[in-house]
């Protein structure tokens, strides 16, 4: 069957390194990280995390003109981050009754549970999605994807699949998660938190650093809207390990099969892939699993990075945020170093990027893996 092509034509992100793609790119060029030492949340005396300054966020939010009144409404920190991420895309593209709104998050407004007097409804993900989508005037039912740490990448696959099956013409994808006591205490109970800023793939890595961010992309199947340098979504796969609910498969089976499925659909060979934006949480098991899966697919010599050393693990936002940065790498033909990496730390070696450098990027692969044994891989191509 001959599927229509689906493209990403616009991106945006809100992170501690900047409130648009260009400022993020500049910060990454300078090697800046959003990860800093923070103190006294729950029973954690101190911890590293990549957190957006609330003061700065409020300043920017209050200055921003939205196509709806915001002064008469109350917004959580996450909601402000989400509204700011989506705004420039909605300003540029018309919303129709065949436009999808896909929202990726793991925990949404989970912090609202901290106040027992808050109705549980405020922590419901679909309630949050409706709040955002109705403000911007979306008429279709929001599609909320909550599939652990692969949500942000899977959202791209889902939107592309739904456009190809003919249900929608275009889609806005929005992703976001914040650092909360809920998530910090949970990761800490797993003893999965790094005592230093995380070091993906490094021999000294010892766990995750959490982060918060929002990201947004616009997808269309309308060839008239596609300019040179647009990004085509060529293939995808999201296959479960069927192995363990809180640890990755030792053979990387689900990730292997996800990439294989994406490559088959893209109808390319592994040799054509110029760059991999991987998951790299900096836990011992995750990074080892990825190295094994990449080697099984003969991708071990393809330049690979994890952006977690810059942004921490932003959960449901991570896959989309990292795709936004990977798209920027492709458009500018410039690879970003995998911050925190110094010495090979996986049993099978992979080509971790040690310094920022120019490189021709046409096809690139984005992967993610998460709790529940889930994995996702998407192959993108830059149009010339």
């Amino acid at each position: 069957m001959n599927n229509k092509s689906v493209y990403i034509t616009q991106t945006n992100c809100i992170t501690p390194l900047g409130f648009d793609v260009n400022s993020n790119w500049d910060a990454l060029q300078q090697g800046k990280s959003g990860i800093k030492l923070h103190k006294n949340v729950g029973n954690l005396e101190q911890f590293y995390a990549s957190i957006i300054s609330t003061t700065e966020l409020n300043e920017v939010f209050d200055k921003t003109v939205f196509p709806f009144s915001v002064s008469d409404k109350k917004f959580t920190k996450l909601e402000k981050m989400l509204l700011l991420a989506l705004l420039p895309l909605v300003e540029k593209h018309q919303i129709s009754n065949r436009t999808a709104f896909v929202f990726s998050t793991t925990k949404g407004n989970i912090s609202s549970l901290e106040l027992e007097s808050n109705p549980v409804k405020e922590a419901q993900l679909a309630f949050l999605a409706k709040k955002i989508s109705s403000l911007f005037g979306f008429t279709t039912e929001p599609i909320v994807l909550s599939n652990a740490c692969v949500s942000g990448v899977l959202a791209i696959a889902v939107a592309k699949r739904m456009i190809q099956v003919g249900v929608y013409d275009d889609a806005f994808i929005l992703a976001g998660d914040e650092v909360s006591e809920f998530v910090l205490s949970g990761f800490n109970s797993f003893q999965a938190m790094s005592e230093m800023p995380c070091k993906p793939y490094d021999s000294d890595r010892n766990g995750v650093t959490l982060g918060e961010a929002t990201a947004a992309v616009y997808l269309t199947s309308d060839n008239n809207k596609v300019e040179s340098n647009a990004i085509k979504i060529c293939g995808d796969g999201a296959i479960n390990d069927a192995n363990h609910i809180s640890g990755p498969s030792r053979t990387g089976e689900g990730l292997y099969k996800s990439i294989e499925s994406a490559i088959r659909e893209a109808n390319i060979t592994v040799k054509e892939i110029d760059y991999i934006s991987a998951h790299g949480t900096a836990t011992l098991y995750n990074d080892e699993m990825e190295a094994i899966a990449f080697n099984r697919l003969h991708l071990q010599n393809v330049p690979v990075n994890s952006l977690k050393g810059f942004y921490g693990h932003t959960l449901g936002a991570s896959g989309l945020l990292e795709t936004v940065i990977a798209i920027e790498s492709a458009k500018r033909n410039h690879l970003i170093m995998s911050k925190g990496f110094q010495h090979d730390g996986t049993s099978q070696s992979i080509a971790v990027i040690k310094e920022n450098k120019p490189a021709e990027i046409n096809y690139f692969l984005k992967t993610a893996s998460g709790f529940g044994g889930c994995n996702t891989a998407v192959i993108f191509k830059k149009l010339n």
Partner: protein
């Protein structure tokens, strides 16, 4: 949207009753969900000790899937059955319990065994493990059961040969209020 695919089997669990293709196949009266789940486990002769570690959402999804998958899965074969679930409350039933474990600074006891279930897609992982389904999966959240969307997504997986069958539907659990309504599209 035209579709060459059909729904072949369905299972609904609500108010302590199980329906298979709209026929009532099991019922208990007055039990809590935990007691009901245990009776179903015994009645169907399931032998899977991990079941007792699961949270309520996973137990519900697991039991409904057992009803539908027991005849579908061929041991040793590659069963490319995708799992596509949705609900309203995500994992909030367990989220609230986890939040209670960190509400009191003097009595702070966050547990990894609870935290892992604060993601709705864990139930998908549980079913994948039980039936060794190395297959496509996704977990969606909607305000109301959106069978139209789930069927469309299932169709896209089947059309693109990402799966040969799709087990999909609604698995909602919050505070003893629950509904599982799953069906197989092929």
């Amino acid at each position: 949207m035209k579709s060459q695919f059909t729904i072949t089997n369905s299972c609904k669990i609500e108010s302590n009753i199980i329906f298979f293709n709209e026929e009532k196949i099991f019922e208990t009266e007055g039990d809590s969900f935990a007691e009901f789940a245990k009776s179903v486990y015994k009645k169907f002769g399931i032998n899977y000790p991990k079941f007792f570690k699961m949270d309520n959402l996973s137990k519900l999804a697991f039991l409904a899937s057992e009803v539908l998958l027991s005849e579908q899965i061929i041991a040793e074969a590659e069963n490319n059955v995708a799992l596509v679930f949705a609900n309203r409350s995500s994992s909030l039933d367990t989220d609230v319990k986890f939040q209670q474990s960190i509400d009191d600074k003097e009595n702070y006891y966050p547990s990894p065994a609870v935290f892992v279930y604060t993601l709705p897609n864990i139930c998908v992982g549980e079913i994948s493990i039980k039936h060794q389904l190395k297959s496509e999966n996704a977990f969606f959240v909607f305000e109301e059961n959106n069978e139209v969307f789930l069927t469309q997504y299932a169709t896209s997986l089947l059309q693109n040969k990402k799966a040969t069958k799709v087990l999909c539907g609604w698995v909602e659990y919050f505070d003893e209020s629950y509904l599982a309504k799953l069906f197989i599209v092929e």
